[in-house]
Structures are given as C-alpha cells and as structure tokens.
Point group: C2
Chain length 388, copies 2
C-alpha cells in the first residue's frame, strides 16, 4: 500500500458556520470577493453577510462580479488584474463552483505573470509552473456539488473550447466555510444537477485507477450521505437534514478530488460543456452516467468497487456491478432528472467524434484513470447510448 | 453536525517511501536533523539515508542528537539555540515520538523568544501565543505509535514534572514520510508499547467528547488496522504486512489526534511518566487501560461507541461495552504485555493522589474530554485497580 495524503484546507462544516467566520483567523488585509454575474448571492443576503464577517475581522474588501457559469479564462484574467489594481492579498470565492473556481484561478494569476492558459496542463496550455505562491483563498460554497472548497482545482474554458482543471498546492483554499443553511434556496433542478456532480466526484474517484486508501474511505462516505439526502433535498428544499447530508457528501467528495484523480465521465463532460456553456456540468454528467458506468459493469472492470458503491447507496444485499448502475438510474429517476436530453442543449450526434477528440486532447489524465482502457469508438458509443 | 477538519501535513505513506523523499518538494536550504541520544537511527543506517536524501535535494544539514525518551524542555531549548546558531530553516525529526516531538518544539522555539514553558498551556505554562511561524518540519517516524507525524502536538516535560503537549497550526509537519520498512528493527516489547499508544490515540479519540464525524472515521480504521497487525508484528518483527498495518494504523491515529482531543488515560499517563521518565508512555497506558475503559463501560457512558470499537477489533458480533474491554485485554495478552507492573517502575500507591492531582493541573483538557465526568477518587480507583 502506497498513498499520498494532502488536504491542507481548514474546513469548518455546519449549519450557521458563516456566522462564526470572523473568528477563524482569516488571512489578509484586503479581500477580493468573487461572485457570479447572477443575482442570487445578493438577493439571498449572503454577500452582505460575508462583507459583515470581513468587517468584523478588520479585512477590507472589493467585489468582482463577472463570473459566468463555466468560467471563462478572459474573465479570470480580468479578475486577476482587478485584484492587483486594488492591492488585494486574499481572494474570497462565494457562490457555486464557478465562483470558487474563479477565485482560485484569480488568486493564482494575481501573483503570476502571463495568461491563464500559460498554466493549463492540457490542450494548448503551456504547462508553466507558477513561480509565486497564489494569494490565500477563502471558499464559501452556496451550493452542494462542486466540492471545490476542499480541493486544489479550478476549471476554466478558453476561447478554443478547451475546458481544463488547473491548480497546485497553493490553490487549495486556506479556509472553507461550509454552511448548509446557505444552500436552502437552491431550486430543485439545480439541487439535483449539483448533487449528482458531487455523487460522481465520489463514484468516479472511487473507480479511478488513482483511487487509494484514503480517497476510497471518503468516496464511500460521500456516496452514502448524498444517496441518503439528495432526492429529499430536491423534492423539498426546506428539508434541513437532507440539505446537510448533501452538503456533507459534497465536501467529502471534494476531499476525494483532492486525494485522487477523477475518471472519464468528467473528462468527456468537460468537452460537452466547453462547446455548450449553457449545459450545466451536473446535467451533462447525469445524461451520460448510466451508459458510462454500464460500460465498465459490462466489462467487469471493477465489480467489487461497483458492489461497494451499490451498498453505500443503500442496496444492502448488492452482489453484482449492475446493482450500482440500477441504483444510480433509480436515484436519477427519484430526483426527477431522468428526462434530461442532449438535444435540448444543441448537442447533436454528428459532433460526437469531435467531443471525444476534444476530451482526449484536454482531459487525457481523467480518461486514462478509467478502470479499463476503452477506445475512442467505445466513448462515442457512450454518447450514442445516452442520446435523446 | 458541526466539525472542523484540519490535517495540513503532506503524508507519503508506503514501503520504500524514504527513497523518494528528495523528490517531495522539501522546504528549506539548511536542515537541523533531530535524533535521539540513543544509537538506533545511526546503527540501522536511517540517519545516513536521510542525509543522502537531503544531499540529493540540495539541502545542507547539521545534527542535534540530545533527545531523551520523554523529551525535556531544557534539551529542546538547547536544540532551538543550536538551530539558530547554525542558520537552519527547516527541522527534520527522525526517530520515535520523542525525536519528532522535539523537532516540532525546536521549530517553534527557533523562531520565537523565551523558554519553552512560555508557550505551554497547562500547569505553570505561561500560555503565550507564538508570534512567529515555526520553521517548517519534516517528520520521518521509525516507530509505529506516536502518530505525531500527522498532528500538531509535541509533548515535553519540565523540571517541575509537568508533561504537557504544545502546538499550533504551524507545528503540523509540512511533510511526513511514513516508511514501514524503517520499523522492521523495533524490538518486540517496544513494538507492543508503541502499537498500544497508537491504538489508544484511536480509542481515546473515539470516546472523547470532542470526537467528530471525521475523527470517528479515522479512529475506527486505525483500530481495525492496529488490531489486525499488532500481535503479529510483536511476535515476528520481520512480518512486513503486519508492520505495514500497524504503521498505517498509527498514522491514521495521528490524524485522529489532529482532529480531536484525546481523553483521560493519556492525561493520567503523562503524569506518571513525568515523575518516572523511564516508564515508556505506551507501557503506562497499557497498565491502566483495562481499568480505564472498564470504568466507562460500567458507567454506560458510551456503549454504542464501545461496541463499534469492539467490532473494529474483530469482534463481529459485539453487543455490549464490555466486549471492547475484553477484546482489549485479549490483545494485551496476545502481545505479551499483560505482565507490566507499575511497581517495576517505582510507582507506589502512596503517590496515586499526587499523580492524579498532577494530571488535573497539567492535562485538564484531556480529563474533561472523558465520556463521563468522573471524580478524583474514581481516577485514583483506576490506578488502584491497575496496580501490581
């Protein structure tokens, strides 16, 4: 047995934890608060509450509110310039995965020269090592899905439809405040998309060839809590216990992302949403997931792991890999997202080969982490089997 | 559910991992290597191998070899002066718990003024907050027991028989290299003492009122691996699989120490070995352990936790708290340490009250973490029940 364990983020989990944020020894004197261009963190009062916490801690703050879903490299570059111009020495990411991912990459680029793609390690990225430490990062998720509050990765898309994760030892958040109360207002569909994203961090991390002793522990715990709470959280957003379960599962799955590499469903989905930025990442994953896991069940690539995952999902008497695939299909049904259609997002079968080629170019690491080596044709087949 | 998760150490676990140490992005330009005043790390070649790894990484090094079992504050103060005089900017702890604990406290005191007890938070300690960050620390355990490679604590004893743990966010090792191959030469008795120390980090952390979601996960995994491997490692030190299991359990139990507070058996043992520095910490814990856990079993203080611990020890059909106490007594028997006698170490019943008073003064935090509030008389009773 060999493993590397590295999860340096100080995570404060619990309902009401945002109210205590000012006591947490926050780094920095002036914060860049990164939020999305949408309205939710203002309307729900979360932005004002974070500003109040920073005030209490004696930390100044300015706001950068240009983050789009599926963050774009140009916006991150603008954010980094804005951070430098304002003398910020800490970056706060408040919101969903796109805000926190953007905060991480802004923190990296604020102290390092050049463009974001100089530091990307796939596609046309220049694979440069950052010379300077990123600014410290504080992550405050308002959705349960990304897990980015516990890992080093920020995902961005450039103008060539390359969607790639980037990060290093300094882009783990210094502090994460995970307060399930901030997630109560997420609408049902988004709750489902995000919750499945979290589930797939746990499941892909588990079947990944890079999985290891610690990541496997966190995968199974994450699957257990997400499977327990997700349908309830989708069907009644005011169910605080269900929200807490999904939030916990999401953060645990973030630890999985820190400890191992995800596999090919994420790799291929990144290609889809790089071309179709209106496709929510979680929705793209859901669409392909049953065909993706069925592929490896049919290949007998990781039967024992599939059985363990089925058990973590509550199928106590699971005995075969397909038990997991069936449990997954049932959860998708129970969460009301079984009718997602690629065609609704402009995805057409004539471009399947292009998506797969893009995934090979930009996300080869995750494709190679699949539990069995599958061909380009087999990946296209997953898309065909998933298409409606 | 509320928890704080913080385990910032980058841990490289696995047989042969010392050989790869130079590739791990080691901090610093000049290392103070802290080893014990004994001979084992020299005789076994571990010191030379660490020096070679530092050479390969281009890091200079000097040696401080004055650490005693149960480290003394005066030696740590001397080590800190030595580090400053030699311009060291990183401290390597190589050896058992006393070497690594000393390395941590030297790293703290090398950058902060005053004496060690200025920073102690119990007894006559002045409870000062360190003003400067400690030097970065690299931990390389050669024993499986302490878990200090994964936590922030260093334990030292002053001239007033106060044995106290100290540490802060900077005294987590930056890097830990946990190579079970370095533990193959530990003699049977020490293997047992150290292995039980690890076991009790896991079990006390588990029944502690500070235990939480993450610490409980690690406690049960640690108990499982230690119970699986310890008797085999004691009875045949060349059993590499058993050594690996115990090393893994020990590091996982170190993560428990990072995530929660231990309870009263550690608190009381620190008092014993403060007065009797020849008493190995693990031996002191073993002597009192059956009476200690039986006390809480009798009180029904944490029955479900006791049952879970019994199951983790392999008692699949455990149904009551005493199942854990019985499994513990059996493991002590199987490891050949059931005949440990307090009287062999100069411990006499007429001083029991003094030991308990000392524990209350120096380690009140751990005593308060016990799963039920017990009186001074009950603590003396634990000592009486354990005496032979």
């Amino acid at each position: 047995m060999k493993f590397k364990f590295f999860v340096p983020t100080k995570i404060f989990f619990g309902r009401g934890s945002l109210n205590e944020m000012h006591k947490r020894g926050l780094p920095g004197k002036k914060a860049l608060i990164v939020i999305s261009s949408g309205k939710s963190v203002r309307v729900n009062g979360y932005l004002a509450r974070v500003e109040e916490q920073l005030d209490k801690a004696g930390i100044g703050h300015v706001i950068f509110d240009k983050v789009k879903p599926n963050p774009r490299s140009v916006d991150i570059e603008e954010g980094a310039r804005f951070a430098r111009e304002n003398g910020c020495d800490v970056v706060v990411g408040l919101g969903g995965g796109s805000s926190i991912d953007s905060a991480k990459l802004i923190a990296l680029l604020a102290t390092n020269e050049g463009s974001l793609w100089d530091y990307a390690i796939g596609g046309t990225g220049k694979r440069t090592m950052a010379k300077s430490k990123a600014l410290p990062i504080i992550a405050i998720p308002t959705t349960a899905g990304t897990g980015t509050e516990a890992d080093q990765w920020g995902v961005a898309t450039n103008e060539q439809n390359e969607k790639i994760g980037m990060g290093n030892d300094d882009t783990y958040p210094t502090i994460a405040i995970v307060d399930p109360d901030l997630m109560m207002t997420v609408p049902p569909k988004l709750t489902a998309y995000q919750g499945f994203d979290a589930l797939f961090h746990a499941t892909e991390g588990y079947i990944s060839t890079y999985s290891n002793f610690n990541s496997q522990i966190y995968s199974l715990k994450a699957i257990e809590h997400i499977a327990k709470g997700l349908a309830a959280a989708v069907n009644d957003g005011s169910n605080a216990q269900a929200r807490e379960d999904v939030a916990l599962g999401s953060t645990l799955a973030g630890i999985v992302e820190a400890l191992t590499l995800l596999a090919g469903n994420h790799g291929l989905e990144h290609a889809l949403s790089a071309y179709h930025p209106d496709l929510p990442h979680g929705a793209g994953l859901i669409m392909m997931s049953v065909a993706y896991y069925k592929m490896f069940a049919d290949l007998g690539a990781c039967d024992e792991k599939m059985i363990n995952m089925a058990k973590a999902m509550g199928v106590k008497d699971a005995t075969k890999a397909m038990d997991f695939v069936d449990a997954l299909a049932k959860l998708i049904e129970d969460c009301g997202v079984a009718d997602l259609k690629m065609s609704d997002y402009g995805i057409t079968p004539d471009r399947f080969e292009e998506y797969v080629d893009n995934a090979f170019k930009t996300n080869i690491f995750t494709l190679n982490a699949d539990p069995a080596k599958i061909s380009k044709e087999q990946r296209i087949q997953i898309l065909k089997d998933s298409y409606k």
